[in-house]
């Protein structure tokens, strides 16, 4: 699978509109560029690529009792499934380990397999892991 990211997206923009090419997939990171530069999505194909890209960004929240190796275990599973971490923060809230990670799922086998793999890791190391679409949080906090 060949992926359009923030690095190469500019070469797919012609006359202010996105031109999707056969065999390419749009990643969420490219969307940010397209939005910032007010690139138009013309035609069913580009619109549907944009919608798919938006739903390829996931938020992983991890909560549990702090212990060594949580971030390593979560990050290894993400890497094993070819997810790409785009943001990561971690803190201790009222004695509870809390970690929030944003992941681009474009290279993974899809939401279901990705979420299932992480849930399993959570069970193994004894923390709660949930995987949710980023877009729902964005809808809530951004206009």
């Amino acid at each position: 699978m060949r992926i359009i990211t923030s690095d190469n997206v500019s070469s797919f923009v012609k006359d202010g509109a996105l031109q999707m090419e056969e065999g390419w997939t749009l990643a969420p990171s490219a969307l940010e560029y397209l939005r910032r530069n007010r690139v138009r999505f013309e035609g069913e194909e580009t619109r549907s690529a944009a919608a798919t890209a938006a739903s390829n960004l996931a938020v992983i929240t991890v909560e549990g009792i702090d212990k060594p190796g949580i971030i390593a275990a979560v990050a290894s599973e993400i890497a094993r499934q070819h997810g790409n971490i785009t943001d990561l923060s971690q803190t201790i809230l009222a004695g509870v380990f809390v970690m929030v990670t944003v992941v681009d799922m474009t290279g993974t086998g899809g939401y279901e397999a990705f979420a299932e793999g992480l849930r399993r890791v959570g069970e193994e190391i004894g923390v709660d892991i949930s995987v949710r679409l980023y877009s729902v949080y964005e809808a809530m906090h951004r206009i």
Partner: protein, 451 residues
């Protein structure tokens, strides 16, 4: 509103709204146009084909977003417009077809056994109304509604009189299940064509072939937000906090609705910005009113608190979506709201106060258990009073009245599940009511002449 990537605090706030705040989508409703369907078989084919993917798609999306979708429903063209002749058997068969289709696609309720008779009832409309008791008693999932008034047409008092009898008969035919048939029947004034909430949903005129609409929920989230305010914060601060919270709830609702619509390949309809309670503790509109500053809901001060709440909900929601529609307000069903039901049981909340409350909020006298002895005339008179509220105030009002055979004031009635439980309320009952017996037509108010 911040810009750029989301911060951890924002994400954790959202997680908390869903977890502790019971934020959910109350309903995702597929509206379906049945024009062109002539037979019950046509109806089954149309509904089971078009709604086949509704439940799987909504279930997957609830998992992916983490926002529960409580109900998946289907609303269809009013059956009085689908039936092509005034034939009661045909209408009963169409009702059965809806029931069967709902079962097949896995939805618990399907709305649209409906007629709009605010000016006059056609012969088909009359047959439909007369068929309601049997239809509601012989189906499980079918919801019915009749619009008996609008601001522009006035109140059809012939239909109002008939509906009192229909409710009595429906109660009698479903008396073994606490008159549950009446819980599936709504009598409207100013019914809207795009309401996603049961029991009053139908796919009205002006709608296309199909639409996905969403009803938001989240009274618990609003209650949490008010709790976080400094004690004694002035009312404008309370209103501001409600607006802010409802904005977020609405954005989530619209996002989920649009995603369901995209995945189903069906146009997006509307977001109904209504705070819809459930009987789960912590998911109550009455609790919000009590937090605003009432010892119990129903006491003096309730109407002003509700008016402010309802207005703030609309303002927050209207900022969040350009597709607000349906009923859009705060719901005050008695049985589906634990604090409402207990205030009624303790004598703080009367039928008369409820009527006053419906003048400042959507949607009406909803899920109210009445003594089984309540006369048809009294039921009709309550419906007419409520319709007058709607007609004069240019808003939707509705009645879901349940005279439970054998029950007397103070008894509790339990319908189970989302319908909840409620105490039987006292009513000033008369065997005959002159204003109902006169029948005829209440002319539309002056404000109907707005052109």
């Amino acid at each position: 509103m911040a810009r750029g990537p989301l911060g951890m605090d924002e994400i954790l706030e959202s997680v908390g709204m869903v977890g502790q705040g019971h934020l959910d989508i109350r309903t995702v409703t597929l509206g379906l146009n049945l024009r062109g369907c002539r037979t019950p078989e046509d109806v089954v084919r149309r509904v089971t084909t078009a709604a086949r993917d509704l439940v799987p798609i909504a279930t997957a999306l609830a998992l992916e977003t983490g926002v529960p979708i409580v109900n998946r429903r289907v609303a269809v063209t009013p059956i009085a417009w689908v039936a092509d002749r005034p034939d009661r058997t045909l209408i009963l068969e169409l009702a059965q077809a809806l029931d069967e289709s709902a079962h097949t696609v896995g939805v618990d309720f399907i709305g649209g056994l409906s007629a709009l008779v605010e000016k006059h009832a056609s012969r088909i409309d009359e047959e439909l109304m007369a068929a309601l008791p049997e239809a509601l008693a012989s189906t499980r999932r079918v919801c019915a509604s009749v619009n008996i008034a609008t601001t522009s047409a006035g109140i059809n008092m012939d239909a109002v009189r008939m509906m009192g009898e229909v409710i009595k008969d429906t109660a009698e035919r479903t008396k073994d299940a606490a008159a549950i048939g009446c819980a599936k029947l709504v009598i409207f004034a100013n019914a809207v064509p795009d309401n996603p909430f049961m029991a009053g949903a139908f796919h009205g005129f002006g709608e296309g072939d199909a639409a996905i609409s969403v009803g938001i929920s989240g009274p618990g989230v609003v209650a949490d937000a008010i709790r976080r305010l400094p004690p004694g914060a002035p009312l404008q601060d309370v209103a501001e906090e409600i607006k802010r919270t409802v904005f977020k709830i609405t954005r989530v609702g619209e996002h989920v609705g649009r995603e369901v619509s995209r995945r189903m390949g069906v146009p997006f309809g509307i977001v109904d910005i209504s705070l819809a309670p459930t009987s789960t503790p912590g998911d109550s509109v009455a609790e919000i009113l009590e937090l605003i500053g009432l010892e119990r809901v129903g006491l003096p001060g309730t109407t002003v608190a509700l008016a402010m709440l309802n207005d703030a909900v609309k303002k927050g929601g209207a900022m969040a979506t350009s597709r607000a529609g349906g009923l859009s307000g705060a719901f005050i069903p008695v049985s589906e709201d634990a604090n409402m039901a207990s205030a009624a049981a303790d004598g703080h909340l009367s039928l008369e106060k409820l009527e006053a409350m419906t003048a400042v909020c959507s949607v009406g006298l909803d899920m109210i258990a009445l003594p089984g002895t309540t006369s048809a005339d009294t039921l009709s008179a309550i419906i007419a009073d409520e319709a007058a509220n709607g007609m004069i105030n240019h808003k939707t009002t509705a009645c879901r009245l349940i005279p439970v055979p054998g029950a007397k004031p103070g008894d509790w009635v339990d319908w189970g599940g989302l319908l909840g439980r409620a105490p039987v309320m006292d009513v000033r009952d008369r065997a005959t009511v002159g204003v109902v017996r006169r029948a005829g037509h209440v002319p539309p108010p002056l404000r109907a002449l707005g052109n």
